[in-house]
Symmetry: C2
Subunit: 450 residues, 2 copies
Amino acid sequence: MVTEKLALHITNTSYEDFNENAIREAKRSLLNWLGVAIGAANHESMDMVLNVSKLTDSQPQATVLGRNEKVDILFASLLNGMSSHIFDFDDTLLETVLHPSAPVFPAILAYAEQQKKTGKDVLEAFIIGCEVEARLALSVYPSHYWRGWHITGSVGGIGAAAAICKLMGLDIEKTIYALGIAATDPTGLREMFGTMTKPYHPGKAAMNGLLAALVGAQGFTASKKPLEAERGFLNVLSEENKAELITEQWGEKWEVEKNSYKPFASGIVTHPAIDAIITIQKEHKLQVEEVESIVITAHPLVKELTGKTAITTGLEGKFSVYHCVAAGFFNLKAGVYEFTDEYVNDPSVKNLRDKITLVIDEKIKEDQVHLTVKLTNGREISLFVEHAIGSADTPMTDEQIKEKFLDVTGEVICSVAKNELIDLIDRFEEVEDLTSFFHLCQPKETANQY
Amino acid sequence: MVTEKLALHITNTSYEDFNENAIREAKRSLLNWLGVAIGAANHESMDMVLNVSKLTDSQPQATVLGRNEKVDILFASLLNGMSSHIFDFDDTLLETVLHPSAPVFPAILAYAEQQKKTGKDVLEAFIIGCEVEARLALSVYPSHYWRGWHITGSVGGIGAAAAICKLMGLDIEKTIYALGIAATDPTGLREMFGTMTKPYHPGKAAMNGLLAALVGAQGFTASKKPLEAERGFLNVLSEENKAELITEQWGEKWEVEKNSYKPFASGIVTHPAIDAIITIQKEHKLQVEEVESIVITAHPLVKELTGKTAITTGLEGKFSVYHCVAAGFFNLKAGVYEFTDEYVNDPSVKNLRDKITLVIDEKIKEDQVHLTVKLTNGREISLFVEHAIGSADTPMTDEQIKEKFLDVTGEVICSVAKNELIDLIDRFEEVEDLTSFFHLCQPKETANQY
């Protein structure tokens, strides 16, 4: 009775059960996630989906973060889930490559805005939603991911549903139904990586999960064993069935405490290599003419996920470790600008990319890399990175996350609003009325206000 | 380049390419589907989802068939897809157990109502949507189904997307994107059979497919090989990859020509046994007291899909071949009433159910059955059904489908409206303005009109 036990945990857990570190990490998750969502708000794919929301005459119930439009709570979930994953710059649970915030926060915020919930409600729902999706991810990883599911989309909807169940205060039976309706509606093929549909996955997961919770709340019936049954989610979508991981030791620690934040705007597996080249460049300040070649020796997943060579768009650049290292070489960072079409097509960047090769080594861990720069004068500079910045062992500091927020939100909202949002999230558990929070996320509002 | 070839077929095919039989079968499909959708319109699960549509402030764009409410085109797709599958009385493509109308017609009708398309547009879009989902189903069947996917939900969304692409007149590139966005968003675990979530599957598929087409129409990018790629739909959701079945011999015949309609309101695999018991009863008019036991010898799928024994709800009755045979014994039919909670819990029905056993025989085909009634006096009456009524070899006549429409729509709309709808669908390709069609599907409108 895994799902029943899970539903019991969800209904029995409340804010008071969380330790200080979990609450702190939930707030760091929110700030990091909100920044990338606002930063990508004006991406053309956002305009496209907003056009569709107009075709359905979507009503202004909830804020599209970083935009002046409001839409209904389902479209708000879709749009904010999308924007927060467009830069590939959101948070990651490294054990399963799950991005926990993108499918869960959008559903929570849309519902919280409509139903006038508090900051504490939002944090409570998030820690629970994150716990559920993370444990589900652990129970199907790695076979689920290797089969081709984009785990953030496929388990994210169940996390979103769990969060909304908590926010609505559903009883155990309705929570079971909501989890079931979400489980039957997974989203996300990894085949979509490198296209606009990748960020569609967490958005659609948020939308599907919110809808599942709203429908389940009506008493709409579903299987009571949607996860663990012979033909339930675990068995149908993965080779293994580690169902015990979904409920065991619930409450002893929280998955959100393991959350990590990306210092670079590309796939997490590229980060050790970027960290390595930046460290080398900070010390050696090499000119591109001095470089004969660069050899990256890395974990097999690096080639699998980011082995793209012939790239022409910014999006593709995120899936090319070659491009990531070239960007780090020139700019000492790999932020939003380094993954624009313009930068990817810069001839000198392309030229350096072609000098970079990738060697796979099964003995090297996912957060490690060995990088060697061979110079035209015959000299070699090598560096082994033990734990890349942003990894569990070298987490970003609060200050670094705030700096990232100020940077990644760019020109979308004004700097006064940015700093007010940082302050609000710092004391989010005390915020009784979220109205000003949502106002600060809208450019027009912030422009009028200041 | 399977998806590209498929998109080319979709854009290049039009109404003029269909033979008369395909068009006739599309109209039979529409009438049969519309009847079961209207008939189940007032099911409590419909009220539940309508309540959710109110929470999202859904606007009146499209008709909920058999109801006075109108909702936006996405919710109309969800609701009409649900209602048409609630009775488990819709159409079936027997090779793959796919119910082709339920995920496709709702999306088409919602968009056609909003955009004022014609009857001919609707038929054209349906034949194409049906072709796409049916070929996809063939390409992943049986492993996909056996793994636990409810094929109507999981491939249905791609069929709905294809239909809407045609209705919108999208070009090849946007059609590829739409198919990809739908492919990444499959719905439906078989674990949900016997709950309200089973009919949620075609509804959600219609909603997901319509949304995918609307988003793809904006130029929103997706993989160009969403079906055939190493990590595309076929490989991720099934063990095999018979991609060639998706496009080969396109246009030589149409899948809709193979469509079949259920004479009984339960899973298709129960039909041979119901047919057998009704045939026996018509001849022998047995009293229940005369029956010692009944032995059903059938294809393995009968036990797999409808082997439920301890049943207490009408819904569960549809998944119990024992109940189906008991109903046929007493009532000489197995319609909507025979799958109500009331009827399932009738003590005499329950008593007869307990006397029925099921023997599996791999040599018996899916549309066959061997049924033996053992009498208390020691006599045995046996019947072998070669092709059950409703199967490809013994199709329902036009007259039988019209009678079913009149019966299954019950008291939801008035009989004048029923007959007008039958007439309208008979000449659907000539209907330029669908306004009166949708009016006739609303109880208030039909009550006002007559």
